[in-house]
Symmetry: C2
Subunit: 777 residues, 2 copies
């Protein structure tokens, strides 16, 4: 008897111990709030996704743009991620979403559980009852990493979603045994009703359907093969076509619309009806492949076969998230931790895995390739992510970082232009934004000893920076800048090319190609050709050398820039800050100009032209809600007043990253905005990717520990830090006083401790000179 009680006690103790372990282990993901940024400009989605999974299974709340006089209204922009918090209805749950982009696409393969009257059109948010969409309330909605749940009020259906890398897993609780699933192959984000080029569905057996659709959206040609397993046999199914298509012969022999196991067309919406067992639960699992239905089926069988329960899959995905989120341990208040871990979460969504479980993937050349020594990824928003996301990966996820660069090299090998990706997704190049920043990502990886084929990387850098017809490269090389008469974005392009050229210069130097090093060293100074000495700012210039007249420093449009005005873009010389400072009139003038940027008021007429940001995304004239200025604050380190970086970084973190629905001041841009936050929370930032230096400001939290993938840890302590004590008095690295303005990537990954003594007032003696300054050409 005692013995039994003894064993029982033991069991209970073990259970308690395990539970504690689980809580300890589980706690980071509990801080994540996927709803941050789902309102307004964040463009993130609350749905279920596994770390870097291609499946991002999330509700689309309204994706139908209003067609006014043949033109789409900008609603298409609002729905980059398919979800806007204020919307009253859910159209359905589609399987692919960008995280935080400023351009929309995807929203593929929408499933929607319904019951009652069979409606195959989505209806409108004003009159949801005219279609299959349903009302919902945020009171009946829940999201956490790898899990999303909501109640569809019109149907009394409780929806739960989870995801593996390649499979979206749905669990629907119906009010009774009558169940229907709508499978809408017209639905998509970007262009609403003419996106699908072709869709095809096969009912292989009552519990398995396969098929594909090809879309022409932002991705020019996007192939989405699928295999869907139902936990119950379908009793009755069919479709409606919303545009005539031919399937000659068949119509005479069959009723193609009902229970005919082949359904195809340009615009089809299918339904599947079930009679449920007493549980009233129906599960659906949609596996994605860009290769083939066969590939989708393999993905389904490996990742989410029906014999594996929803809860098991959910648990595995949650464990993957815990592992990812365990990279950082931190102390802070709940809002700070929510912001920190949500940022980390946002950094682990894109790029997305883009290959089947057997390694096959669709290449940029349209051929099916097999990834042999790497895992292929897609969704490279490089104009955004070269800045901080990829440098962050070079610390926290070096294996994936190698995969990313290898994926970019594969893209380049498959490109008919033989150049690196610019903004690539789903085996497409969409040519978004400017620069050839793929070279920055490669240079940063090489600078930080990520194992990649350097010869191949060098070759890719050269070809990407010398393709004459690529976005005015010929003119850039001819004039040393991109003239305004050649491109309305000429100044921005010139500045960014010059930085990219510096990256190539650095890599050539490192790899011993002195001739190229010399060539690109010169090219890196091209930024000077668009700097107007009289004005003291970067300025649009004509090919005859004349500067643009009637030039506005504040205007974002038509002044030679893109997504930034001259005030912000003039600071875009991350690779030669001292050179820029000199051009701007030296230390004092440079400080004055920086101060002015942060303290000025941007009149409404000019704000209206800034892109992708809310009013909160501005600090004076400094635009944080978009990328071109992300490095600017850290430039104070080169001046005699470096503490101003410490001030403004904290100001940005407090004001522009809030644990709130509209807590993101601009598009998260596939993790770039979040990566800025994480770096800045650590107290340093990659001001100039391509160098191995991380430029200091001040930590945001009193304690932060990085659990590095090599097993080392790097601790960042700033016990006294607070909004009041935001100034660095002194720094110790591994216990020793540290006087430089930067640490290196190696400092971090070899592990150690970085300690900041914080105070209320700036330490005006802590000014960096000579070797203590960050590297600058």
């Amino acid at each position: 008897m005692w013995r039994e009680i003894g064993s029982m006690r033991k069991i209970i103790l073990i259970i308690i111990a395990l539970t504690n372990l689980f809580i300890a282990f589980a706690q980071n993901s509990t801080f994540v709030n996927p709803f941050i940024g789902t309102k307004s400009m964040g463009h993130v989605f609350p749905g279920a996704v596994a770390p870097h999974g291609v499946i991002a299974l999330s509700p689309d709340t309204d994706t139908i743009p209003h067609n006014v006089a043949g033109k789409y209204q900008p609603d298409v922009y609002r729905y980059c991620a398919g979800y806007q918090y204020n919307d009253p209805t859910i159209v359905g749950f589609s399987h692919t979403h960008f995280s935080g982009t400023g351009h929309s696409d995807l929203g593929d393969l929408l499933l929607m559980p319904t019951n009652g009257k069979r409606l195959l059109n989505p209806g409108t948010k004003e009159q949801p009852e005219t279609g299959y969409r349903a009302r919902f309330s945020h009171n009946q909605e829940k999201a956490m990493p790898g899990y999303y749940a909501v109640t569809l009020q019109d149907y009394h259906i409780d929806v739960e979603l989870t995801a593996t890398e390649r499979v979206g897993v749905h669990r629907y609780h119906y009010p009774d045994q009558n169940a229907r699933i709508i499978f809408d192959l017209v639905h998509g984000i970007y262009n609403y009703d003419d996106k699908t080029l072709w869709a095809s569905v096969r009912v292989e057996n009552p519990q398995l359907i396969t098929g594909y659709r090809i879309t022409n959206g932002w991705a020019r040609e996007n192939y989405q093969y699928f295999a869907i397993a139902f936990s119950q046999p379908v009793l009755n199914y069919g479709y409606e076509e919303y545009e005539k298509q031919s399937y000659a012969g068949g119509w005479r022999k069959f009723n193609l619309k009902e229970n005919f196991p082949e359904m195809a067309g340009r615009k089809i919406r299918c339904y599947f009806e079930f009679e449920l067992p007493e549980t009233h639960v129906l599960e659906a699992r949609l596996a994605f492949s860009a290769v083939s239905a066969e590939g989708a089926l393999k993905n389904l069988e490996v990742e989410a076969p029906l014999h594996k329960s929803f809860d098991e899959i959910l648990k595995e995905t949650q464990q993957k998230w815990e592992k990812e989120l365990s990279f950082i341990e931190a102390t802070g208040n709940p809002d700070q931790l929510a912001m920190l871990y949500t940022s980390l979460y946002h950094c682990k969504i894109n790029p997305s895995i883009y290959q089947d479980v057997d390694g096959k993937y669709r290449g940029l050349d349209g051929n099916i390739h097999e990834a042999k020594d790497f895992t292929n990824y897609t969704v490279f928003s490089l104009w955004d992510t070269y800045r901080a996301l990829h440098p962050l990966m070079n610390i926290m996820d070096r294996k994936r970082s190698a995969d990313f660069t290898n994926s970019m090299l594969a893209h380049r090998a498959q490109s008919v232009h033989k150049i690196l990706p610019m903004w690539s997704h789903f085996a497409n190049e969409n040519w978004c934004m400017i620069g050839y920043h793929g070279v920055s990502v490669l240079a940063d990886a090489i600078a930080k000893n990520i194992p990649i084929d350097r010869k191949e990387a060098m070759s890719a850098m050269y070809s990407s920076s010398t393709l004459p017809y690529f976005d005015k490269t010929a003119e850039y090389l001819k004039y040393g800048f991109v003239p305004y008469d050649v491109s309305k974005n000429g100044v921005s392009i010139t500045l960014e090319y010059a930085y990219d050229d510096w990256c190539i210069y650095q890599t050539a130097l490192k790899e011993g190609d002195t001739q190229k090093a010399e060539e690109y060293k010169k090219r890196a100074l091209n930024y000077r050709n668009v700097f107007c000495p009289d004005l003291g700012f970067a300025r649009a210039r004509y090919s005859n050398g004349f500067w643009k007249e009637d030039f506005s420093l504040l205007n974002t449009h038509d002044e030679g820039f893109i997504e930034g005005n001259s005030w912000n873009y003039s600071f875009y010389v991350p690779h030669d800050v001292l050179g820029l400072m000199k051009l701007m009139g030296g230390d004092k003038a440079f400080i004055a100009k920086l101060d002015n940027l942060f303290n000025m008021h941007l009149p409404d007429e000019f704000f209206a032209e800034t892109e992708d940001v809310t009013r909160e995304g501005l600090l004076g004239g400094y635009v944080h809600g978009n990328e071109p200025s992300h490095h600017i604050i850290y430039m104070y380190n080169f001046t005699s007043e470096p503490w101003k970086a410490q001030y403004w970084v904290r100001e940005v973190m407090n004001r522009m990253y809030r644990n709130d629905l509209d807590g993101l001041c601009g598009n998260d841009d596939c993790g770039q905005m979040s990566a800025w936050y994480i770096f800045s929370a650590m107290g340093f930032y990659p001001l100039c990717p391509g160098s191995d230096q991380l430029v200091l400001a001040a930590p945001y939290l009193p304690y932060l520990k990085l659990n590095l993938p090599n097993g080392n840890t790097f601790e960042i302590k700033a016990p006294k830090v607070s909004d009041k004590n935001r100034y660095v008095q002194s720094v110790k690295l591994n216990g020793k006083p540290y006087t430089k303005a930067f640490i290196t990537n190696d400092n971090v990954i070899t592990g150690g401790m970085l300690e900041f003594e914080m105070g209320e007032k700036p330490n005006r003696k802590r000014v960096f000179k000579g070797d203590d300054l960050p590297y600058s050409q």
Copy 2:
């Protein structure tokens, strides 16, 4: 000196000997006249094709149907093969064509050489100068197996074409150094301007382009990947899009329309411009693949790399044709030999090889498969070709016959319905016509010991004949016939199902599945359920057992039949002729009915409703220009007046197969009409495929020798045969008197000699009884 002259003589003699050998070897293809049937109903094409090659590179003379009130006029029918002899212009040279079909599709990947003004639209035949098409004259046109040449008068360009199995090879002679090629990705046969779902072109280098298009034509989803090699570098290229498509981003950075190496859209037409060397010759080679651009490139490299000359390729293809055409040696007048060898030529075009050189092919399930133990073929017009083409293949090309059946079994394995093909092409089932005649092809192959997986074949036969939703199979099984109230084609369907069921019965018997044999033996008699005893004809019947009132024996439409009236279809019991004879009232009544069929006059109002035939395609009421009656003449063998078969077969051959542009009296139907001719010329015909018997009539020519693939020969002698001496007096097989009405397939392939003594009058004593009668249930 003498010695030298001696060697010279020797060389000359060798040359003469080789030349003679070549002439001897080459002579059969010189008889082929690819223009036979290119006018009116034959629906064959004159262009270049290798035996059973997927590339059928041929001029399209006008494929633009006239859209009247939103409906296409039947021009689409006229252009099944893209070419109509009377047309004044050539639109261009497209790479895929059906041979002789009654339904149109293909016409893919059109190239057209031009010069002068750059016109990217095809123009009209009335005003060719408004587009890129050109006038031509038959005086400047030439066609032979594997070769086609024409002069484009508007451009003074001489065009020569040849083809390998997977590559179309073009040689253009321009009048000067200015050359252009139009590549029209909108063009296609079937639906003119909305066929292409998507097209994509990559200029890999100045001499190589790759890409693909997907079409939705008669084939629901047809993938055409290509690789095109030019013999000269392209200097300038571009495209026009005829429907807006999005390629976001790109338009801001590039001039996508000119010299940008990616061209894509729903409706695009490209041009490529060259500066030629002094020869003024430009070659283009287009390799096709249904798998990938990579596959097309492999096909190009293996079959027609640029280092292989046009003439070498042409010679190889011509040698392949000689080999195929050497199957028959015959004596006859030039017109007879032209008809014979052209018929043989038409039998060796479809089915078409449908896999890349590495064995990969697109399956019916949309997945990419690899053909391991067979070669995959497509274009199975089985309602037509089960009758004579496949039985002919079981004599002359047993290797390909095995490939055909294996291709059909692969189709079935990939079918979501798990049934054999009906009318399949390019990885699609188009459900054309009726019956599950795939089972006939399998049964015939098994009866004739073609090596195939019999277990798999049996399983395929069963599944194909029991799928409830397949074209009224459920009702057929329920009522024993397909009621008129269920299908307007119910009688035809019933008759053909019953025959197919007999094929299954025979196979089950052969394979020892007695239970199935019993079941299908019964089903084979279902033809009786639509035979109206009062009327003495097959008649539409309702599910309540009542016969259709107001029934017309002559009308083709709405009487229960399809592509044939009751007069013709009533004889459709190839598997139980004696049974049918009994139903029709015995020998004399049966003969009277047959005689009546051949001697009646079909009034114009009823002729207008026959399909796919010219007036010449009729003999009285007998319709030879379409398939349902092809076996009827041979039925006389079961009667007391078998010589009438000898009379009418020769009558049909003389009247309905003429060495003339409109020499085919109906669609050639992928070789079925031609196979009928070849069998009938031999003196026998597969009255009932699925049995191994070939039913005799009389040979058409005095001498005919079959060079069998196993090395044996089978000679058919009828030295006295002529239109006058059309009656068989007696027969000898291998020197011995032969009294049966049939020989077996084995008789032929083991080799030997069949001799016919011919005379002016019928030998009225030569009547078949008992074992001398062909097999009949």
